[in-house]
Symmetry: C2
Subunit: 178 residues, 2 copies
């Protein structure tokens, strides 16, 4: 049987620009006291942008935790209080220069549920109109286009490893029957 | 164009049981210095266990970051240096009591690539033989069984939100043609 947990102690051990880290104690319903490490993150959005030719617009950027570039769908961090849909449209525009006529919700995914509060909202963008990228100062990325079916293959063969990309593209593929 | 990053300063700001948190500085190829917050995690495994009747064995447990129970596939943390396949078989046994005759690799997923080093290895387990659960002291969970197609529906409707579960089940569905 699963047991509810109630916070009885909470200590902020790190407060950064992106994450806040807490070292908590919680009591279970049966009285057991357990330590709980928690990474607090404001959440994010990611977008599967599909062109009229059935291609997905992707980005490739260096990812510090892995020391190598990864291929991902466009994505970004939610500003505090920001509406996920607005954030999705903003990030799509900033990273790829695209505005989307249709912006369909694919759902939410929790990337690492044991200790991370991050929630990522996923969208499917079609009816794209392109203008100029406008990246953040510390953001450098390549824009790439792949056929939808090729992205699925890259997920199945392990060339794409980013979790949000895998989840959102596989969900979008089911909607499209791909 | 994406730019490589090189660590020039690294400070451990928290060392817990599950995560180590670093507050680093990195220099980009163009000379720009940027702050990089990093959560170091030893990685994990998750398993899609499918019975002869085409049901997936799932677990429901309280998840502290969300203050509610979540439905997930069996999973666990890699011990340092542990082989992912061994860890997968161990976690499957501990959480569900099942041994698997067939244990097929589905690939790896990186749950939150901007600041988290965690990698989760995914497996598909069939030919299951059941004995007793043997959970950790602070681990309490419900075992649940759902038809494969119903798990897909729960992912599509948002009843299942756990990232590794979404990715691994959607990948397994493609292999089975479900």
């Amino acid at each position: 049987m699963y047991l509810k947990e109630k916070t009885i102690e909470s200590e902020i051990v790190f407060k950064g620009r992106i994450i806040t880290v807490r070292n908590d104690k919680a009591v279970l319903e049966d009285g057991t006291v357990v330590g709980r490490e928690l990474v607090v993150h404001s959440g994010g959005v990611c977008i599967v942008p599909v062109t009229e030719d059935g291609e997905i617009i992707m980005v490739r950027q260096f990812r510090y935790p892995f020391g190598e570039p990864l291929i991902e769908i466009p994505a970004g961090k939610l500003e505090t209080g920001e509406d996920p849909r607005e954030a999705g449209l903003r990030e799509l525009k900033e990273e790829t220069g695209a505005a989307a006529k249709n912006f369909e919700y694919l759902g939410v995914t929790y990337p690492s549920v044991a200790y991370l509060s991050e929630k990522i909202h996923m969208y499917l963008a079609t009816g794209l109109e392109f203008s100029k990228q406008s990246l953040d100062d510390d953001e450098f990325l390549d824009i790439m286009k792949f056929k939808f079916g090729d992205v699925i293959k890259m997920i199945e063969t392990g060339e794409i490893k980013d979790g949000k990309t895998m989840t959102a593209v596989l969900l979008a593929a089911r909607r499209y029957g791909i």
